[in-house]
Amino acid sequence: MALKQTLRKVTIIAERVLRDDLIELVKAKGAKGWTLAMVEGEGSRGIRASEWEGRNVQLDTLVSPEVADMIMDEVGSRYFKDWSVIVYVADVEVLRKDKYVG
């Protein structure tokens, strides 16, 4: 088994209009890649403009702990007030760590 190393996975789930903004944001903060999926769900926010024109987006990115913190801070300060956005972070084990950081 190859060497497993720990990284952070930041997950952002947001209304679809924010798609491009969020990708730009994580890249600007130092993420080297991202994965995006269309998702559905329910939360504390009521209805949103994109509701009848599509689902929410989920953006995952594997980053170092420092970058993860920066992304979370930025998402919080920029979007929490007016937008339907959640962001969370988890430790994950990866192979080939240098693919994601450095």
Partner: protein
């Protein structure tokens, strides 16, 4: 009264009702998103092509006045909607501007329903009307967003909102279709005619089911919006519609064309405007603008507005 019933019993309107009913009974009916998106591309391009081919055979000076009048309507309607929403709707600046953007822009499906309704009565209309839809779509949104920035409301990005409006799929497809149709002219379009004309109304029916499903969801929120907004959602289309009919007749449109322009002016956008407003005015509550545009004004126009504008155009025509 006859026109009212006649207008309601049509495949397009009834499919919309079917969508609402399906939502009410909690049916699992849903138009899959790619199909909905595909249909909207089909419909917008078809409208554009048809309008474009009519433009190719219409002399420019015949277009000038209707075009200018439509542009003026696009500048007036967001202003009146904004002040009505502020004064009688008691909305804040940001919410009022968001609603105004929707009323300033145009609902393509309302336009289509009006065209169908007028066609059924056997009245002739101008073929270039889709070009006026394109003219009416953008200015209203920009004017309404200006209100918000004047009131210190805009927190979102202006540049992005503008980009969203001008490059949104509805305006790109509509303008693109108009250009292609205009460049090709009626003869060259006969090749694609079977695809874009024959299936058009059927496609519109399926699209209406999806709109009905979405409106059904909004209708449930209509009660929460309050009586004032409910009333405004019916008064504004009548006001703007009457203005549109009069302006259309003054600009030299046929009564049928003026009725359609009335329906356009009285309609509230729910494709171009919501996306732009969400980006420019994130603090505005979507519950207000979506409920008004889709839950109240669209069904109102479909059921009452369009026949009303037709009748108005007929009577005003003998005056003006």
């Amino acid at each position: 009264m006859n026109a009212l019933a006649e207008n309601l019993i049509s495949p397009v309107v009834l499919c919309f009702v079917l969508g609402i009913v399906a939502r009410w009974v909690k049916s699992d009916l849903a138009v899959p998103e790619p199909i909905y998106q595909g249909l909207s591309i089909y419909l917008l391009l078809a409208i554009g092509l048809k309008g474009g081919s009519a433009l190719a055979v219409t002399p420019f000076d015949e277009l000038l006045l209707p075009g200018v009048v439509t542009l003026v309507l696009g500048l007036i309607t967001p202003v009146s909607a904004f002040f009505l929403m502020r004064r009688f709707g008691r909305l804040g600046v940001e919410d009022a501007a968001a609603v105004a953007a929707h009323y300033g822009s145009v609902s393509v499906v309302t336009f289509l329903a009006a065209v169908e309704a007028v066609k059924r009565t056997g009245v002739e209309t101008e073929g270039y009307l889709p070009a006026l839809v394109a003219v009416l779509e953008v200015p209203g949104i920009i004017v309404a967003l200006l209100f918000a920035s004047g009131g210190g409301g805009t927190k979102g990005s202006w540049k992005k909102a503008l980009h969203e409006v001008v490059t949104g799929k509805s305006i790109v497809l509509l303008l693109g279709g108009l250009l292609i149709g205009w460049a090709c002219g009626p003869e060259k379009l006969t090749d694609v005619q079977p695809f874009f004309a024959a299936a058009f109304k059927g496609a519109l029916c399926i699209f209406m089911i999806e709109l009905g499903l979405a409106a059904g969801k909004r209708l449930r929120d209509a009660g929460k919006a309050g009586v004032r907004l409910l009333v405004l959602g019916c008064v504004i289309p009548v006001l703007h519609g009457a203005l549109g009919v009069a302006a259309g007749l003054l600009a030299g449109l046929s009564p049928g064309g003026a009725a359609i322009l009335g329906a356009m002016a009285g309609s509230a956008s729910y494709i171009a405007a919501p996306a732009a407003v969400r980006v420019a005015l994130p603090g505005a509550n979507p519950a207000y603008y979506l409920t008004l545009a889709l839950g109240i004004t669209f069904p109102f126009n479909l059921a009452i507005g369009i026949p009303l504008f037709q009748t108005l155009a007929k009577h005003l025509d003998s005056w003006l």
